[in-house]
Structures are given as structure tokens and as C-alpha cells.
């Protein structure tokens, strides 16, 4: 981002200009319960004249408040740049060792738009693998794996930065604890992502979610009233549009009234790398490759073969038949002829 203001520290700029250029800077004051500075006063001058009693109540010293403002602006700018900036071209995972110290001996490079399935029994090391990616391990975790971004060792500060989080996680049990409508909820998320067109993004997400969910919901529906399928559909659409994390991790999308194939495609279209832990043959075979876990390590990487792909049609047919039976059951019909 190049503006004339790059040379002027944010705290010296007249607040009117600051808030016009960076509307989200307002959050800094509202989150502390402070009034906004007047338009012609700089934030620095404003902080200088805050009475000591107010600082005492806030639990912060004057100098620290100034430092926090600078840190906040840095965060804000980097979030905005992340929103518009270059995306990740590839992520490479170099194998480490399994629970017995045996070499995994693999190098896996994945690029946005790819689907990788993850299979293996409970306790076989799937969670640790995902944690390694999330942490951007550099041979310093128990597995000794290394993670490279665009083929290079990432800057260590990325590990803890909010805007550079690598993994967004769509877990199996997903609840909403906020008492908000779908529209308010998504708008709140969009705001925390510094999106310019909050209303537009919110509308798109709700539309996409309704395409995925079996039964429609309105923007006014409270999030707490959504069914399991609707919540998942909403989160998949939301992650696809709003999350800056290049990798989406999905724990088994069950049959809860959601078009599973379309759901995965929504994420892939959003240029995500999709890592999917699943035992569902249809989903597993949607992956270009699958990682097989055993004893804390990656035992094999299997590329989906043309023959396997061809089998998918048969699995889909079986799935369609089962779905038909399920619907018949739901409609109170007898299930005598299969």
C-alpha cells in the first residue's frame, strides 16, 4: 500500500485523515471505551491529554497506550494487505520420523485448489501432522517435520501472526455461541477481516451456503437456530470467502443434509488447499492424493488412480440408492424392494 501517509507516523496524522484512510482505526478507541479524537487533533496529542484517572481505570500507562496504537495500526495494515496481497503458491511438507523414530522419507508439495485426503485409525498421528502444518514446524516438533512456504523456510514471526494463520479448521462438532442472526454474524466476521464491501460479501456467503444446504435459511435466522447441515454449509461458504488461511482442514463431512461434493468444490474454487480427514470412499477418492497414517507417521502417499476414479461412479450410485432409501424411510414408505 503506497499513500502519501507512509512517511508520516499514524500517531502524528490528524485524526480526521487517519479515520478517513483507515476507518477500522476507530476500533482501537471503541474497544478501550474511549471517545474518538477530534478531526484536527493527532492521536499522539490525544493520548497526551487523557487524564491520569482514565488511564488508571483502563489499566494502562500513557507510553504503553501509544505503543499499543502503533502496534494496532501495524496489525490493521497487515490484515488489509493480506486481504489484497499475493496468495501462497505452494506448501511443502518434508517428512520426519514416526513414533519409533523411523524415517518417513517423503516430501509433499500441495498447491491451492488441491484436495488431499487423510486416512488412518485414531491415534495414528493425523492431528500431530495438522498441528505441524499449523505451527509451521521446522524440525522442532516431536515428528521433526519441516514445513516450507513457496519452497522456502517461512519467516519465524509468521508462526504467531493472526493474519498469516495457515490453517482454518472446520471441525465435526460446530456450535455457535453468539446470539446473532446469520447476517449479523457474517458481517461481524467480515469486519474483523477488514473487508471493504461487508454487505456484499455477507450476501454472497449466505447465497453460497443456501446452495450447499438441503433446506434454505434466511439472513434473519439466528445462527443458534441453524440445523447441523445448515451450520456446516454456512461455515464452508464463510471459510471459502472470508478466511485468509490458505489451508482448510475438514474433519469428515457427514451426511447432515449437505451436498458434500459441492462443499469441497466451493473451497477448491476459493483457491484453498483442502485437507480432509475422512473414511467416506466418495470423499477420499475426490482427493488427488491421500496420506496414509500409521504409528505417528505418514506410511504412504497414494495418488488416486484412474481405476479408483472410475470406481467413484459406482460408489456414487450406491450412495444415491442409499439416499433414496433414507428418503423413503423419512416419508413413511415401506422398504421392501431395493
Amino acid at each position: 500500500m503506497t499513500t502519501d501517509h507512509d512517511t508520516v507516523p499514524y500517531s502524528a496524522m490528524p485524526s480526521g485523515d487517519l479515520l478517513r484512510n483507515y476507518p477500522y482505526a476507530e476500533d482501537f478507541f471503541t474497544s478501550l471505551g474511549l471517545m474518538l479524537p477530534s478531526a484536527d487533533e493527532s492521536v499522539g496529542a490525544y493520548i497526551e491529554r487523557i487524564p491520569p484517572e482514565v488511564l488508571e481505570d483502563l489499566g494502562i500507562e500513557r507510553r504503553e497506550l501509544g505503543e499499543q496504537f502503533s502496534a494496532f495500526m501495524t496489525l490493521l495494515i497487515s490484515l488489509q494487505e493480506k486481504q489484497n496481497g499475493p496468495t501462497i503458491g505452494s506448501i511443502t511438507i518434508q517428512g520426519g520420523v514416526d513414533k519409533n523414530g523411523a524415517d518417513e522419507g517423503f516430501v509433499l508439495t500441495v498447491t491451492p485448489g488441491e484436495v488431499v485426503s487423510i486416512v488412518g485409525p485414531t491415534g495414528s498421528g493425523k492431528s500431530r501432522f495438522l498441528a505441524d502444518i499449523e505451527w509451521m514446524a521446522q524440525g522442532d516438533t516431536p515428528t521433526r517435520r519441516r514445513v516450507l512456504i513457496n519452497g522456502a523456510v517461512p519467516d519465524p514471526t509468521r508462526r504467531f501472526s493472526l493474519e498469516h494463520k495457515l490453517v482454518a479448521q472446520l471441525s465435526q462438532n460446530m456450535n455457535f455461541v453468539m446470539d446473532l442472526s446469520v447476517e449479523e454474524f457474517i458481517a461481524m466476521h467480515a469486519e474483523s477481516r477488514m473487508v471493504n464491501d461487508v454487505a456484499g460479501v455477507t450476501r454472497t456467503i449466505i447465497e453460497k451456503a443456501n446452495e450447499l444446504a438441503g433446506e434454505n435459511f434466511s439472513p434473519q435466522t439466528p445462527v443458534t437456530a441453524l440445523s447441523g447441515g445448515q451450520s456446516r454449509a454456512l461455515m464452508i461458504a464463510d471459510t471459502s470467502c472470508l478466511s485468509t488461511s490458505p489451508i482448510v482442514l475438514i474433519d469428515e463431512i457427514e451426511n447432515a443434509g449437505i451436498d458434500r461434493k459441492k462443499a469441497v468444490r466451493t473451497l477448491v474454487d476459493g483457491h484453498k488447499i483442502v485437507l480432509m480427514a475422512t473414511h467416506d470412499p466418495i470423499l477420499a477418492l475426490m482427493g488427488d492424493r491421500r496420506l496414509v497414517f500409521k504409528n505417528g507417521g505418514v506410511r504412504a502417499i497414494i495418488a488416486t488412480s484412474p481405476a479408483e476414479r472410475a470406481n467413484m461412479a459406482a460408489f456414487e450410485e450406491m450412495d444415491a440408492r442409499l439416499t433414496a432409501v433414507r428418503n423413503a424411510l423419512r416419508n413413511g414408505e415401506r422398504i421392501e424392494y431395493v
Binding site: S31, G59, I60, S127, Q169, S171, H189, S192
Partner: protein, 228 residues
């Protein structure tokens, strides 16, 4: 020895988070001890000991738990030195959501959970705003969007902190937190050190044991609400 102060609202998952980080560190040969500050009673010492983590409990009784903490932390450090720990973690609940005092140049951690709601970060005082590391727990229970909004709200009030998600049940993130803690600065002595911020002003008549209500009985540091 490295001293770490861990604070956070009750039930945010402090003990579980400390146990997960300590287990990861012990696996690497680091000797970890814990001091647990509480008000009335606690079963956490047994919880720690079951995991092979040496622990000591301090009950503040009718004293402000944070004043109790400051009055004892120097002796806690000595105890830790005597026991030969590499890392001593003090755990205290910020019961008024304000202080749970952090010490300058001593690694300060605040633990808060996603279930407490997105407005909570704004309601917590220096305990959160002055922490070096903010551990967010119970992320597995809420949606990805809520996790992101919550982390952003934490970053708004403490833009300088490292934010890390830890699952106290599965331990996800515990190893990573352990790495952060073991990189903390060494603490040799606390005498003469400064708290990061003052604790709430005190000493009104109620601090001294007054029980009667009414202006006639209120003396000292009293602040009245504005009803005009």
C-alpha cells in the same frame, strides 16, 4: 530459572493448558514446577501431582488474591530455586477480571476461552492487555468464524501479544506453548522489580471490615456513581 505468570478468569482452562505445556516440556527433560494461587480451596495440586508435576498451593482466604500473590511471589521463586526447577509457573485466577498482576520482564500469560463471548476481551483489564502471550482455549467448541473474530478482538486490545490456540483436552497447541515458555527470560530475583500495572485502588472502610451500608459508614477511597 524461568518464571512464568499465568492468569485468566476462572474456568478458562488455565490448569489444563499448563499441564499440557508442562507435559510437553517434561518430555524434553525440562523440570517444571507450579504454584497455584486460589481463594478458598483447590484440587489442582493433586491434578498436577498426578501428572508428575511438583506443585504448591497458596490459599488467599479473605485477602485479595492478587495482593496475596504479590506478597508471596518472591518466596515462591526461592522455593522453585531450592527444588531445582528449570521453569516455575504461577497460576492465579483474575477474579475481578482486572489485574492478576504481571511483573515487568517476567513472561506473562493470560488464558481466556472462546465460550466467554466476543465482547469479553474488551472487559478484561491489564491481565489481558499487558500479557506477552494470550492463550485462547475451547476453540474446538465454536465455529471457525467465531474463533477468528475472537482472536481479532483480543488483538485489538493487546496488539503486541502472541496469540496461541490450545486445546486443554486433546493438548493441541500445548507443545507449541511449551516452546514459547521455554524461550522466556531467566528470573534471578524479584526484589525491587515492578508490577506491570497498579492493582485496583483499595482501602475504604469495607476493606477494613465494615459491614454496615450507607454513606455514614463509608470512609477512605470511595467513588460514587453519577445519577444526574
Amino acid at each position: 530459572m524461568r518464571l512464568i505468570t499465568v492468569a485468566g478468569p476462572p474456568s478458562s482452562g488455565k490448569t489444563s493448558v499448563i499441564i499440557k505445556a508442562a507435559e510437553a516440556l517434561q518430555g524434553e527433560g525440562v523440570k517444571v514446577g507450579v504454584i497455584k494461587f486460589d481463594c478458598l480451596s483447590t484440587g489442582d495440586q493433586a491434578l498436577y501431582e498426578r501428572k508428575g508435576i511438583e506443585a504448591k498451593t497458596g490459599l488467599s482466604g479473605n485477602l485479595c488474591p492478587d495482593h496475596f500473590f504479590v506478597s508471596n511471589i518472591q518466596e515462591c521463586l526461592q522455593w522453585g530455586e531450592q527444588r531445582g526447577f528449570d521453569l516455575l509457573i504461577s497460576e492465579s485466577a483474575g477474579l475481578c477480571n482486572r489485574c492478576a498482576p504481571h511483573i515487568k520482564d517476567v513472561c506473562a500469560v493470560c488464558v481466556i476461552d472462546n465460550l466467554s463471548g466476543v465482547d469479553t476481551p474488551r472487559k478484561i483489564g491489564p491481565m489481558l492487555k499487558m500479557a506477552d502471550i494470550v492463550v485462547v482455549t475451547k476453540g474446538d467448541i465454536v465455529s471457525q468464524a467465531e474463533r477468528e473474530v475472537f482472536a481479532y478482538r483480543v488483538q485489538q486490545v493487546n496488539p503486541g501479544a502472541v496469540i496461541i490456540n490450545v486445546n486443554g483436552l486433546t493438548g493441541q497447541g500445548g507443545y507449541e506453548l511449551g516452546r514459547l515458555l521455554s524461550a522466556a527470560k531467566e528470573t534471578v530475583s524479584l526484589t525491587g522489580r515492578l508490577l506491570r500495572f497498579t492493582m485496583p485502588a483499595a482501602l475504604c472502610s469495607y476493606c477494613l471490615g465494615q459491614r454496615r451500608i450507607g454513606s455514614d459508614y463509608q470512609m477512605g477511597n470511595v467513588r460514587k456513581m453519577d445519577f444526574t
